[in-house]
């Protein structure tokens, strides 16, 4: 439990006055994401940590950004609660701030919500070294701009997170995984999206080309009812969803670039004979492919979605490029928070793109 809020604000102030780029560091578990040619001055925020407030009956936790998720999940589990967005890399030391900044959510995302959906408020240091408060620690709050939500997926380019208030979720009474055989992609997508109309127990679905795995969470009777609706056998042993969430499945160990394609769940297949693993009921499609990046991105765009390259590769940008009026509003928004462009410059998009040079 250490508070370094003043020290962090002072470091950013100093960097602002000298126009020195900063490279904000958490535990580094997601260093493979985003452009890596950063030569900013390191600003380690892991020392700013600790749970500040947790009252299980309020469903709210407030913690400093450097707090390891492991500590948070342990405190929550003692009261049969959990982080609803199921962040990855908890075992390898990921921090709360890093999980928000990268905005990665686990298999539960399509059924429970994303990282930004669970944030209630935050304190952060903007690019001028000022400590800004947005939101609060109550579930319903419409005072002021919700600047805390765009912190998710911003890769640290909008502010240095200090303190985050989260809505937390009850742990389900029981959780089981069903195996349901299906070889056709369109049928698999259809099934995954139809089952949810008959039960609220589904908390994850994934299809690997042969089998649909369905995670059921809830009361014993609710889970049994869902099983009778879907059919199939229960999976025994292993922790499939943890391995999927942490890139530990055999699928992820294959050679070739790993792409994350985000589309509407019932979108057409990305192509024929793909090496893919479909998650989030069809909304997140993991693809291993050395096809030209532009082709993959353009296919995702055609379907109304976007593609991110999750392999560390200096030749390929992680994030999908922005264009036209959307790029312009992104640039103006970024400049309003970080006018000198010193926060993780280039991590999300090449500097000249997001700062409009």
């Amino acid at each position: 439990m250490t508070c370094l809020a003043n020290e962090i604000a002072a470091a950013v102030q100093a960097a602002y006055s000298t126009q020195t780029p900063l490279n904000i560091l958490g535990a580094g578990t997601k260093s493979f994401l985003g452009q890596q040619d950063l030569d900013g001055k390191p600003l380690d925020v892991t020392g700013h940590n600790g749970i500040i407030e947790y009252d299980p009956a309020e469903l709210v936790m407030v913690a400093r950004a450097g707090t390891p998720l492991k500590h948070i999940e342990k405190a929550l589990a003692e009261h049969h609660q959990m982080l609803g967005y199921e962040p990855p890399f908890v075992d390898s030391g990921a921090t709360l701030g890093g999980s928000v900044a990268a905005g990665l959510a686990g298999p539960r995302r399509a059924y429970a919500g994303s990282v930004r959906d669970f944030i209630l408020g935050a304190n952060f240091v903007n690019g001028k070294g000022e400590t800004i408060t947005a939101g609060g620690k109550v579930i319903k709050n419409v005072a002021g701009f919700d600047l805390f939500r765009p912190m998710a997926r911003s890769m640290g380019t909008l502010g240095v997170l200090l303190k985050i208030a989260l809505r937390v979720s009850p742990l389900p009474e029981i959780e089981k995984t069903l195996l349901h055989e299906e070889h056709d992609e369109r049928t698999a997508l259809k099934k995954m999206n139809q089952w949810v109309t008959g039960t609220q127990a589904i908390s994850a679905t994934a299809w690997d080309g042969e089998i649909i795995r369905i995670r059921l969470s809830g009361s014993a009777s609710g889970v049994e009812h869902a099983r009778s609706l879907i059919g199939g056998e229960y999976l025994t042993g292993g922790d499939y969803w943890h391995d999927l969430n942490n890139f530990k499945l055999d699928f992820f160990q294959q050679p070739g670039r790993l792409w994350r394609v985000s589309v509407a769940p019932m979108s057409e297949p990305l192509g024929e004979n793909l090496n893919q693993l479909i998650d989030w009921g069809g909304a997140q499609r993991w693809l291993i492919s050395d096809d030209p990046p532009d082709e993959i991105r353009s296919r995702a765009s055609q379907l109304g979605g976007h593609a991110e390259c999750f392999s560390k590769d200096n030749e390929v940008a992680t994030f999908h490029p922005l264009k036209g009026s959307l790029l312009a509003v992104n640039q103006r928004f970024k400049a309003a928070l970080d006018p000198a462009g010193i926060l993780n410059p280039g991590r999300l998009y090449p500097e000249r793109q997001i700062n409009g040079d």
């Binding site: 009956a57 408060t133 609060g136 509407a264």
Partner: protein
């Protein structure tokens, strides 16, 4: 006969080059209904009211307004309870009411693409045959528009389980002050770039004009059942709510009413509430038959253990609707026992409920005005209804001062000045209590990033530092905010 023919306003002449006369309202009689929204104590006649029928017309209007430096006040159905749609005297009111088409329903992906002026309830009605609905249900849902819901991040009775507007919208098309159409979000669950879609939610018309929205639809729960529990003590009722939530149950709706509200409502709709109770809880559980049965057993036990004097399970759908009719008619019921009422909208951490209600009761004595409380108990959103008579001198001023003191208390116990009604013109000074100067300056910088000329819904939602300085000079004693002992979030 053209309704605009008497006007010699050069702005109106320019607008007529891009809009047919039928889209321009400029005479005083026809503009009268637009002089206020649901907060009728604040009124202002606009310069002109515009009712565009296409996105292109909205773009053309915005270009003219930017070039001529004309303020723009967007308006949906005008149901705001915070004066968010109150006109600006030199400005246009831009009504989106005629952009009222449901453009596409995608049953496979469970989404609907609708124009901004489509009414909230209209969406659920249009997809009912598919077994789907749009979850956020503000009490004005029969009238309020989806564009207005985006601007206010509207909530409702079911948002503890099913989320606010922000959790149920995938994409918004917005016209900027410069007339450019920009699309935020997508049909996928996330999109490249910053999450400006989330920023737009609850931004009260300060960032752009919402013209089209892609909403998520949910499968209708198979079963919904409601429990009513009566208490002889507010604290016990508050503890009962905490115990249900702590036990891992997320009710579809979880509401509390105090005795003043119960009695007003019973006299109005006969919902079957016990009028001798100090407080009642309504707890609705929904889902599959199996889930609901399991949860009802659990919740009944918790309510009994927490000291309920009476627990009733609605025996059928009719009784369920009757139980809810009381809560849903709480506001009109006040109209029966008082000429006017002023509805507040603070949110507090639930554990502070007892303390806050005790202090509100003391304030009621101090200001000499009655108050009734209805409460979205599950998420801590409190609606004190202050009863007053506008025809008596200074009663509205007293009601306002009473309301302001309630909001200061909400902030002091770790809550917020508005849970779902928005800041608008009504609570703009209270923003100076909830946020410090650098945060307010940051909000203004965000606003300027989208609206460099300060023309989008000006003088609302985010106070200037000058305004706060003036406010603090009047309200802060010895340089301290109310309740200085409590740390602001």
């Amino acid at each position: 006969m053209s309704r605009t023919k008497t006007s010699s306003d050069p702005l109106i002449a320019q607008l007529r080059s891009v809009l047919p006369d039928s889209c321009i309202v400029a005479d005083a009689v026809s503009m009268k209904p637009y002089e206020c929204d649901g907060l009728s104590a604040y009124r202002q006649m606009p310069r002109v009211v515009l009712l565009p029928e296409s996105v292109e017309q909205v773009q053309a209007i915005m270009k003219i307004c930017q070039q001529s430096g004309t303020p723009v006040v967007p308006r949906g159905a005008g149901t705001s309870l915070s004066g968010g749609a109150m006109p600006h005297k030199n400005g246009v009111v831009l009504s989106l009411a005629r952009l009222n088409q449901i453009l596409q329903i995608d049953a496979d992906n469970r989404t609907a693409r609708v124009q901004a002026g489509v009414r909230n309830l209209q969406i659920s009605e249009a997809v009912q045959h598919l077994g789907l609905y749009y979850a956020p249900d503000p009490s004005s849902q029969i009238a309020c528009t989806i564009g207005g819901n985006v601007a206010e991040n509207a909530g409702g009775v079911h948002c503890l389980k099913y989320g606010l507007t922000v959790h149920n919208i995938l994409q918004v098309k917005m016209v900027g002050l410069d007339g450019e159409l920009v699309s935020l979000g997508s049909s996928a669950l996330d999109s490249p770039g910053y999450d400006l879609l989330a920023l737009l939610m609850g931004s009260e018309g300060m960032l752009g004009i919402v013209v089209e929205v892609l909403v998520r639809l949910l499968p209708r729960p198979k079963v919904a059942r409601v429990l009513m529990a009566a208490y002889d003590d507010i604290g016990k009722a508050g503890n009962a709510v905490a115990s249900v939530i702590a036990a891992g149950v997320t009710p579809g709706g979880f509401e509390m009413m105090d005795q003043a509200a119960i009695r007003a409502v019973e006299g109005f709709v006969n919902a079957g509430y016990p009028t001798d109770a100090t407080a009642i809880l309504l707890c609705e559980l929904d889902g599959t038959e199996e889930d609901v049965a399991a949860q009802i057993g659990k919740v009944e036990k918790l309510l009994a253990t927490s000291g309920a004097t009476d627990i009733r399970l609605a025996s059928d759908e009719n009784e369920r609707i009757r139980f809810w009719s009381g809560r849903k008619n709480a506001f009109p019921a006040m109209g029966r026992i008082s000429p006017d009422y002023y509805c507040m909208d603070g949110t507090i951490p639930r554990k502070e409920l007892g303390r806050v209600l005790t202090q509100i009761s003391a304030m009621s004595g101090k200001y000499g005005l009655r108050v009734a409380n209805v409460f979205h108990a599950g998420d801590g959103n409190l609606h004190p209804l202050i009863l007053y008579d506008a025809s008596r001198p200074d009663e509205f001023q007293r009601a306002e001062a009473f309301g302001a003191e309630i909001l200061d208390l909400c902030v002091a116990v770790g809550g917020t000045i508005t849970g779902e009604h928005g800041v608008g013109v009504e609570k703009i000074d209270r923003m100076c209590v909830q946020f410090d100067q650098v945060s307010l300056s940051q909000f203004t910088a965000i606003r300027r990033a989208f609206d460099p000329d300060g023309l989008l819904n000006p003088d609302k939602a985010v106070p200037t530092l000058a305004r706060c300085a003036e406010f603090n000079a009047m309200h802060v004693h010895h340089g301290e905010l109310p309740h200085p002992e409590l740390e602001r979030f």
